[in-house]
């Protein structure tokens, strides 16, 4: 082996290798199977399971791979688990949707797996180059997935909008990254952190921080870079929307934390102030705009914008407690958001598009289980006690108060109260309205499984939140555990 690369590097990226190999095998299997064969869903699930199993040997490692391009630590591990869970639930709910839309499975599942690969790279990257390549892999997969239902004009529109705005925001992000590289002379985030000590007031660095924040804000759909989200979420195929709102958002938060907490801890006065203001605007605009929506996917898009605002509170707090609260909230958010989208997937029938609020009316009388599941998700998204959403918000706001951002927590609580209006409106339609539209919505076994897992997770994590806490705390501690960050704090 030449210097610069060693065999152990390949051992540490085993999960990524398994996922890549699985995705390639899937393409070959797709070519051999008859068209429309449902076996592909289970091949995809097997690939995801194999990847999850290959994560097991690394549950306690904390190493840098490939001369500091990737980190294999518990922070990355936590996010990888989130991505795999989200991908698995997306795959389970996709089968029915693709059948109704008459789209092919093979390329779709391949793209889902590749975007998961990109996310895993993003979560592990401690170097701007690998982070960027991971981000691109994820983003390009999503551009195509958003336009996957070709005969549907809204799907085409979503793909074009997402692609153009995504490319634009990526340009801004790259500009910021290139300034960071120009000033520091390195792309490695941990080296960068040591280099920047004592250069807090350099205007070039402040500019770089602003540009990188703008680029990342686009990916997490925070105000004022949220304009694409409602249109893309509405037009993209529903399972893709679910994955986009959970996986892409979680991966971008992971990358954001890596860049700012690992790479720019000495600039934290600047980026905290920025994120603080952005968190307030994002929460408020997201929730207020969601109030008037009549399309479920648009409404959930604005709700996910608002949730990006809540999550930013954790970044602002910046303490291990804040970051671990953020990680917990991201996992909880994944379950409730994916569950809610699974119900919308179920509403899609041959004769009904099923993403309007009125389509849900009378659901309780037709599908009591789905209605109950949706009730749980809505209560959880709104943050009502027996559910996980409440515990997540409690920790998040608690961490903010702990770090001295009391008024940020107050605004968060007020916003949660506002959000209850539109979450409960869905419940009213499902339970209190009698008239129904179109044919009977039915649950496939895969959809029942998705909903069951999501409901169980939302309720169990709401009652026994301790299950997650130690794990998230350990993950948050590995982030920024490198000497510099600790020294600056």
């Amino acid at each position: 082996m030449p210097p610069g690369i060693s065999l152990s590097d390949f051992y540490y990226i085993l999960p990524e290798i398994v996922l890549t190999a699985g995705a390639l095998v899937l393409l070959v299997v797709d070519a051999r199977l008859p068209r429309g064969s449902r076996a592909l869903t289970w091949v995809t699930m097997a690939v995801l399971l194999a990847t999850a199993v290959s994560l097991v040997p690394f549950r306690n490692t904390d190493v840098e791979v490939s001369q500091g391009l990737l980190a294999v630590d518990q922070f990355a591990l936590f996010f990888k688990v989130v991505f795999l869970v989200a991908a698995a639930m997306t795959v389970l709910m996709s089968e029915r949707y693709l059948q109704v839309e008459g789209a092919s499975f093979g390329e779709y599942y391949f793209l889902i797996l590749c975007s998961t690969l990109g996310m895993m790279i993003m979560a592990g990257s401690i170097d701007l180059i690998s982070a960027f390549v991971g981000l691109e892999t994820m983003a390009v997969s999503f551009y195509i997935l958003a336009g996957f239902i070709k005969p549907n004009q809204r799907s085409n529109e979503a793909a074009v909008k997402y692609f153009l705005l995504g490319a634009f925001s990526l340009g801004i992000l790259l500009y910021g990254m290139s300034i960071l590289y120009g000033v520091s002379g390195t792309t490695n985030l941990r080296t960068m952190a040591t280099v920047f000590v004592g250069h807090e007031r350099n205007p070039l660095l402040v500019l770089a921080v602003i540009l990188v924040v703008a680029g990342m804000e686009f990916k997490i759909a925070a105000v004022p870079f949220h304009m694409w989200a409602p249109d893309v979420y509405e037009g993209a195929p529903t399972p893709v929307t679910a994955f986009l709102s959970v996986g892409s958002k979680a991966a971008s938060f992971a990358m954001l934390l890596r860049i700012f907490v690992e790479g720019l801890p000495s600039m934290d006065a600047d980026w905290r102030l920025l994120f603080e203001m952005l968190a307030i605007v994002t929460m408020t605009v997201g929730n207020v705009a969601a109030l008037t929506q009549s399309n479920l996917k648009r409404m959930l898009a604005y709700s996910s914008i608002a949730h990006a605002g809540y999550l930013l509170i954790g970044v602002v707090a910046g303490t291990p407690r804040g970051i671990s609260a953020m990680l917990i909230y991201l996992l909880i958010y994944s379950f409730m958001q994916l569950g809610a989208f699974a119900v919308i997937v179920m509403m899609r029938r041959k004769d009904v598009v099923g993403d309007e609020l009125k389509d849900l009316s009378g659901l309780y009388h037709r599908q009591p289980f789905a209605a109950f599941a949706m009730l749980v998700f809505m209560l959880s998204l709104g943050g009502i006690p027996p559910t996980a959403g409440f515990m997540g918000k409690l920790w998040l706001f608690g961490a903010a108060i702990d770090a001295g951002y009391v008024w940020l927590a107050v605004i968060g609580v007020l916003n949660s109260a506002v959000s209850l209006y539109y979450y409960l409106r869905i419940v009213v339609f499902m339970y209190l309205k009698k008239e129904t539209i179109g044919s009977e919505p039915t649950l496939s076994p895969a959809l029942t499984l998705t909903l069951g897992v999501a409901v169980a997770a939302t309720l169990v994590l709401g009652v026994y939140p301790g299950l997650l806490f130690d794990l998230a705390e350990a993950s948050a501690r590995t982030l920024g555990a490198s000497g510099v960050t600790a020294a600056i704090r």
């Binding site: 610069g4 690369i5 590097d9 390549v133 551009y143 070709k150 390195t186 402040v206």
Partner: protein
Amino acid sequence: MGEAIAFYTLAAFILGFAVLVITTKDTVHSVLFLVLDFLFVAALYVMLNAPFLAAIQVLVYAGGIVVLYLFVVMLVNLKRLPEAFQDPNRHGRIGLILSVAVLLELAAIAALGVGSVAPVRTAARALPVTGNTEQVGWMLYTSYLIPFEIASMLLLVAMIGAIVLAKREL
């Protein structure tokens, strides 16, 4: 000093041609301006002592990609000029004011920031090979092997995506 003059001249040409690319009405002219733009970017690489990148820039971008663009433009055969479209929600004046403000801000930051710190240079890693192409190859296949492999997956995704979007429904 000479380097700075060369850089700003090249940069001015690059920006100028980029503006021409998006303002020209004729699509073929627009593509040809793009070729010129790519060539000046290649000159920038030469200035940075990266002759390999410059050659790739000319071969792949100015050569390959623009030829593909031209193919598409000629196949689509845009005889009719695109219709003028005025977005009713467009706030041209506010946009202009904002972009001028951002430009001034950038200029101020550049004026204040440059020279305030000497860029920190990490010691260049000693490579066992000499020559620009060899060094790029060496870095790509050793230190940056993993991002290189991921980039290959990215290209595969793009290829599959192109097929998915372009193929007719079977």
